[in-house]
């Protein structure tokens, strides 16, 4: 399982590095969305700082949906699905590999968006650095859950437009917990309670993915 996971993750990251979809399409989209969110709030810097964590996670949500679609589309290209299916890869390994690659892509995008938050929304740099571990864990959880829902909506003939409808209820607790822990790092407050929610969700989604990804692929 681990061998297949490493193979799939390396393949997805190599494709991303070569196609540069992340660099030239997804990251610029995220930065522009963050900039527009800042403009919508008006010129008051204090308001920006308060809303910063929420806006960061809102933009992260849009970016995550794009990247889940992108990750699944690699496998759904005409003919590729059948050829790769006949390799008989361990579905748990495929799930872990795709989730790992998506996590790395979200970390890169997240770091760029955090820098954008500091510059555009004037969130405190030190507080943002303190929040970084919790943000990376939240992004990993979004990647794991997103990989699962991506397979659910695109594994068969399901339209890609189903993805936001299905994922939003699942992502909402993660986004709230992520926003709360980021706010706590910026303005003080209970940080660990929100971490626990994210870590429990990460463990649960990983377990469900390992057990069910093969079923979703077949559905």
């Amino acid at each position: 399982m681990i061998r297949i996971a490493r193979l799939v993750a390396a393949k997805d990251l190599r494709i991303e590095a070569r196609s540069r979809v992340l660099l030239w399409q997804v990251v610029p989209f995220g930065v522009i969305a963050l900039l527009l969110a800042g403009l919508a709030l008006g010129p008051t810097q204090a308001g920006h700082s308060t809303a910063g964590p929420g806006l960061f996670y809102l933009v992260t949500l849009f970016v995550t949906l794009l990247m889940i679609n992108r990750s699944q589309s690699l496998e759904n290209a005409a003919g590729t699905r059948a050829s790769v299916a006949t390799l008989g890869l361990d579905p748990a390994g495929v799930f872990l590999g795709k989730a790992a690659a998506l996590s790395v892509e979200l970390w890169i995008t997240g770091v760029v968006l955090l820098a954008g938050s500091v510059l555009v929304l004037h969130t405190a740099l030190i507080g943002t650095v303190h929040a970084l571990p919790s943000i990376l864990v939240t992004l990993t959880t979004l990647a794991v859950a997103g990989t699962l829902y991506g397979a659910l909506t695109q594994g068969g003939d399901g339209p890609a437009t189903l993805l936001p409808v299905l994922t939003l209820p699942a992502f909402a607790p993660l986004l709230i917990a992520g926003e709360r822990s980021y706010s706590a790092a910026l303005h003080g407050g209970a940080l660990w309670e929100w971490w626990v929610i994210v870590v429990v969700a990460l463990v649960a989604y990983t377990a469900v993915g390992i057990l069910l990804y093969g079923v979703l692929e077949e559905s």
Partner: protein
Amino acid sequence: MASDHPVVRLVNAVVMSRGFPLLSGVDLELERGSLNVVTGANGAGKTSLLRLLGGLDALSSGAGEVAGIDLAHGDRRQLRRRVGWLGHEGSFYADLSVRENLLFAARALARPEGDVDTALRRVGLAHRAATITKQLSAGQRRRLGLAWLLVRRPELWLLDEPYASLDDAGREFFDHLLAEVVDAGASVVLSAHDALRSRELRPRTIRMAGGRVDGP
């Protein structure tokens, strides 16, 4: 398992998709080490038959066995490991190079990486090893598909309209390769609109119409 055990045995095999029968009662038996051509018009069920044999679509009713694995109750993932699929769309990661695509297959199946270079030389793509797959011509992608199958060494080769996009030299090369594969003991089922014109190969031709085997 006895070597004279058929590689494919279907009895009244039905495959449904959203209430529509893709295969509507196929009876078929194919010998091991045989070359078989499935012909028929568009929508006759050629690709559906190949997908059923590859474990890519499930049997809705009837009975069947492919490479010793029961289609109704067996492990389809296990079946897929025993078959090789070459679709007419071109079947690879477009942003990986030719060599990277083959290395992916070799590593996934724990095959020696040296097999990749051997396969590339065999299909005449060694000089294209570093080329990104989406930059290949349709004929070259077809050769890459063959290299993928050579690396995999499946027991049953399933080739969906493999002669499409091939020039005369490509067709001749393809015929030679299929002859070698069959001589080495593998079984081949390929789909085509018409019977093969090759003088080198003497395949069994199976005609399909309306999701059934129509003859011979």
